[in-house]
Amino acid sequence: MKSPSPDERIDRALEGLLTPEDLEQFKADVIRDADLRAAYVDRLWLHSSLRAQRETLVEVLEQPLAAEKIVRRWPVAVWAAAAAACVTLAASIWAFGKGTIYHRPVATLVQAENCKWAGSDLPTAVNSKLGTGTLALVEGIATLKFQSGATVTIEAPTKLLVRDAMHCRLIEGTLTAEVPVPAHGFTIDTADIKVVDRGTRFGVTAGASGNSQVRVFQGIVDVGGLHDDKLQRLTEGKGMNVSSGNTQAGQEPVHGQQIQEADGWTSIPTSFGRGKDGYARRGDAGGAPFGMQPVIIVKHTDIATGRKNERRAVVTFDVSQIPAANVGEAQIVLDPVPSGFGFSALVPDSHFAVYGITDESLDDWNEKEMRWASLPGCTDEGPNPNQTQRLADFWIPRGGTGGAITVRSDALADFVRRDTNGLVSFLIVRETGESDPNGLAHAFASKEHPTARPPTLRIKLSTQP
């Protein structure tokens, strides 16, 4: 094969298109060969100038060509950046002065509601001044005010590393942030992404090994992967889910696969076989059905004005590949994700129930026609006792759990054992109401979710024949 020209090697190196071995050889050659080094720096500088000028690039492209002279003129954006740098510096100097970063306060714990802490190396009393360190919230909701002006509210269970007045790391859990103008540029990173505020209110959830989600309530944020060097702008109402390469492969079912786990458990996601999931809202008359959304949402309210927002979900698993009669234990795993509807602060700890749909003719429901009136096993008031059986219940504390919910009971295993048609369907309802019509609607990932785990039935077969 013809060896590539120096220019081609350079361009491929810049675009990350060389194999690791070729890149290594290229670097060695750049060190050794002065001509290649000069050519590389020429191209590199152009490439880097474009990258570094990102913010003003469109402005430059749109300027008329008439201004033909090369003028050393700094665009307004640079001055603005300098002004912003000034503010950032004013905030950072406290943190960096005299190398005492670890002891200088960069934030204050302004509010802590029903909080239990564990493993924090920062003080957790209200009004404590916080330097660099970790906060681990196991129960409740707490609010930190950073010296830059940014306010961050963490919902248990969450582990947060406070770095400085402009930067923290969400190790795992959920937070919402409100960032005023002087703190623009406030950055939160997780195991797999970095969220840079551009004037906004936003929420982030993250697992310890990645799978972060961002939602912008107001304003703009830039989201960049830590590893893939991408930056993406998210505007109001937009969200983003990022799956990192750090998820523990083999432990979570891939879409469309039933997986056998090492310890005798089989995981069957709704994305497997004839599985399906969806939800419906009482006030959905005429609207699009909710069977194909990336989330399933459940909500209960006793408030008259919120009645139309009542939501129930149904999930069906394809158990045709397992000998259902031999089921020893069964669990349903649900992965909570932000619903984007309502706030945790407005609902108390919430109680949920899982009903098995005993009328197997209802397993035939259709995701694309999923509406309130056709929710299997339901009347308008609730689960139909003639078609369903209450199997299990679970709690989600106010502020969320930050992790997957596992629902298990003997009745659940027994229900799966009695299956005769290869499909088992469950109705998921919330039984706890809310104090305000803007209370949180709880959401779980559906099989359409791009990254989070779909509802999964985990089965362990009985060792007895």
Binding site: D7, E8, D11, R12, E15, G16, L17, E24, K27, A28, V30, I31, R37, A38, Y40, V41, D42, R43, L44, W45, L46, H47, S48, S49, L50, R51, A52, R54, L57, V58, V60, L61, P64, E68, K69, I70, V71, V78, W79, A81, A82, A85, C86, T88, L89, S92, I93, F96, G97, K98, M166, V196, G225, L226, H227, D228, D229, K230, L231, Q232
Partner: protein, 181 residues
């Protein structure tokens, strides 16, 4: 090294003036030596804070860029060692140092190139501008652009390569023309 944050009132203005004057250059320098945009941003912020902390050590009237460059190069090497995201090898460090030294050596020319580039960008045809915006403003990789533009990855690579060659030629021509004031 002992760090004395400078007297804010006396030195802030001098520092900000120098920083503003060299900000774009400094960013380009860091981006040249750091592949990940996110890491480059982090490092840039750290460099600016470090420069500010040590600004008392900077002798007014001496070469600010040389001083900034030294701090930036150290930060880049430290960052790589600290994050251990990349398996830091001797080759990698030698590579960074060799490229940094080459940039130093040609600082004046490179600086003029950055100015000429703005003019050359405006001469690009519309179709090429779109690719430039995708690649550098939206920070899309070659594969993403391939999807957006319904081209193959190889075709996008060739196109980007050609656009950069065109820009490079244009920049060189601009530098060859004696500048009128």
């Amino acid at each position: 090294m002992d760090a004395h944050p400078p007297d804010p009132t006396a030195d802030t203005e001098a520092y900000l003036r120098l920083l503003t004057q060299h900000d774009r250059w400094l960013a380009t320098y860091v981006y040249s030596l750091v592949a990940s945009a996110a890491d480059a941003q982090d490092i840039l912020q750290e460099v600016k804070v470090t420069m500010w902390k040590h600004f008392a050590n900077f002798e007014a009237g001496t070469n600010f860029r040389a001083w900034a460059r030294k701090i930036a190069t150290n930060q880049i090497l430290n960052y790589r060692r600290a994050t251990q995201k990349h398996v830091s090898s001797q080759l990698e460090e030698n590579f960074i140092e060799a490229v940094a030294a080459e940039i130093d050596r040609r600082a004046d020319v490179l600086d003029r190139k950055a100015d000429a580039l703005r003019l050359c960008l405006r001469k690009l045809p519309e179709a090429h501008r779109k690719i430039v915006v995708w690649r550098y403003f939206e920070d899309c990789g070659v594969e993403e652009i391939a999807t957006k533009s319904e081209r193959s990855v190889e075709a996008v690579y060739r196109l980007l390569s050609r656009i950069r060659a065109v820009l490079n030629d244009c920049v060189s021509r601009q530098l060859a023309v004696p500048q009128t004031s």
